[in-house]
């Protein structure tokens, strides 16, 4: 199975997965240049691997939650690639990739509950609660979320993986080895692959904004009175 995955919910990351092997990958730490770096990364990874887009089994996109503008850059890229190449397009919640990474890396005890959290800016975090699989290499189970909110309001007593741990160390019980981690496209592709192999459903690529657009309906103009 040949999968191209993109995630722009935090950093811009791209990966090409052949079965369980990562054939090519790209990650940019800059969270504000997704529209610049994404297409060149896709182009380079495919040409380095000698893979044509039409040979892919699917394009997989991280659907967030994440800051709006960056998230859209990845989603419109994935949708357009899928459309032109005529290959299936799937969405995966970006926090699932982070949770899978942590569980596969043994950062959370098998069978235990934990949180995955990323930077939502404005002093808040995007987060979801998971249960680590009892067998290594299996998918964590999503228990709750995704949500956006203050780190201080997260459910207590559970370890947290993801960048939220280094941003809000006083509010959460961070897992040190995953305290600065963002969702990664290679893990995103692995999550999609395991679901596809298991015949489990995948999401479409609707973005998980979790926040409204902040637009205010203007109130009526005050009338001057004599």
């Amino acid at each position: 199975m040949l999968l191209l995955a993109l995630d722009t919910s935090a950093a811009a990351t791209v990966a090409l997965l052949h079965d369980d092997a990562v054939v090519g990958r790209f990650a940019s730490a800059d969270t504000r240049s997704h529209a610049e770096v994404l297409a060149p990364a896709v182009h380079r990874i495919l040409s380095d691997a000698g893979v044509a887009g039409t040979e892919l089994d699917a394009v997989v996109a991280g659907v967030g939650p994440g800051p709006f503008t960056g998230l859209r850059a990845g989603l419109v890229t994935a949708r357009t690639l899928g459309f032109v190449w005529g290959v299936p397009l799937y969405g995966v919640m970006s926090l699932d990739a982070l949770a899978f990474d942590a569980a596969a890396g043994g950062a959370v005890p098998a069978g235990s509950a934990f949180l995955a959290g990323t930077d939502a800016r404005r002093g808040e975090v995007y987060w979801a609660a998971y249960r680590a699989p009892s067998q290594p290499g299996a998918l964590p189970e999503l228990l709750d979320g995704p949500h956006v909110g203050s780190a201080s309001a997260l459910p207590g007593g559970q370890p947290l993986v993801g960048r939220a741990a280094s941003l809000y160390p006083d509010d959460v019980d961070g897992v040190p080895s995953f305290a600065a981690s963002d969702p990664d496209a290679a893990s995103l592709a692995r999550v999609a692959r395991l679901r596809l192999l298991a015949g489990a459903p995948l999401r479409d690529t609707s973005p998980l904004y979790l926040r409204e657009s902040d637009a205010q309906v203007p109130g009526p103009r005050k009338r001057a009175t004599a």
Partner: protein, 361 residues
Amino acid sequence: MTTDRPLVLGIESSCDETGIGIVRGTELLTNTVSSSMDEHVRFGGVIPEIASRAHLEAFVPTLRAALDDAGVTLDELDAIAVTAGPGLSGALMVGVSAAKALAVATGKPLYAINHLVAHVGVGMVGGTFSDGLPPNLGALLVSGGHTEILRVVNIANDVELLGSTIDDAAGEAYDKTARILGLGYPGGPAIDRLARQGDPKAIRFPRGLSQPKYMGSAEEPGPHRYDWSFSGLKTAVARSVEQYEAAGLEVPVADIAASFQEAVVDIITAKAVLACREHGITNLLLGGGVAANRRLRELTGERCAAAGITLTIPAPSLCTDNGAMVAALGAQIVLDGGSPSGIAFGTDPSLPVTSVMLAEA
């Protein structure tokens, strides 16, 4: 490329229209537009985040519809063009990301072009100028997002900004004034309609930047000889309404609408024609969404005729933001031998008109 009629697909997403146009040289094959305007009505203006969300949802369906309508495949394209600026940052980002993905997936060259110059480039298609762009060409662009007077030496590589608004765009002034008068959004058509029943001379609203200290003379131009300012106008309208209300009188909405419109159109056309006369412009293209305005068309026509300037106004669907104008300019740049922009460039929300296209990053 072996053709003098390149097949170019253009993508526009700088404001609230998701546009895909396809041209073959100067022949227009499709002008497919999906607008999020209805979603902005209750806010009384374009909300950037809502526009950006709509671009994401509209892009692939609009692309599919455009290809169907034109009866061409992506394989047949010679080039892709996309608006890189000026415009709303988050909105531009969607179109540019999509255009890059399209370029990667098809292997076609990508040109990152200037939205304002594309408003002029559209004159190449749809029968606007049947013999191509005329010499001594200028363009007056009036919309909700911009108000500019340009001089066009070579559409593909040499365009100069003569004047622009220093605050609100004219279309924005219409929207804000319509809100004050309780006329809804978009304000342009509503005010234009009501103005027919009012007296344009009832109230003398200010003409911004028209004082001698801003204008100077032809020999010694002042700092804003060809520039406009509309922010003072909406304040003047609000004050006028308040005066009627404070006096317990009925607000003469039609007279205010007509007088407001006259102030806007008078100063736009006076300065545009002045700029044309002083820069040897004998052909003027009127573009942008507000080019549909009845009074603006009328007075621009009168004043151009009096100054010996030939006025051309593209069809309304080519005046508002659209992808055909991006494709049309892209085709001209291809024919001019311009090098593609690559796929590493960034968007530029304040791209100056002197940058007709972005060089490879």
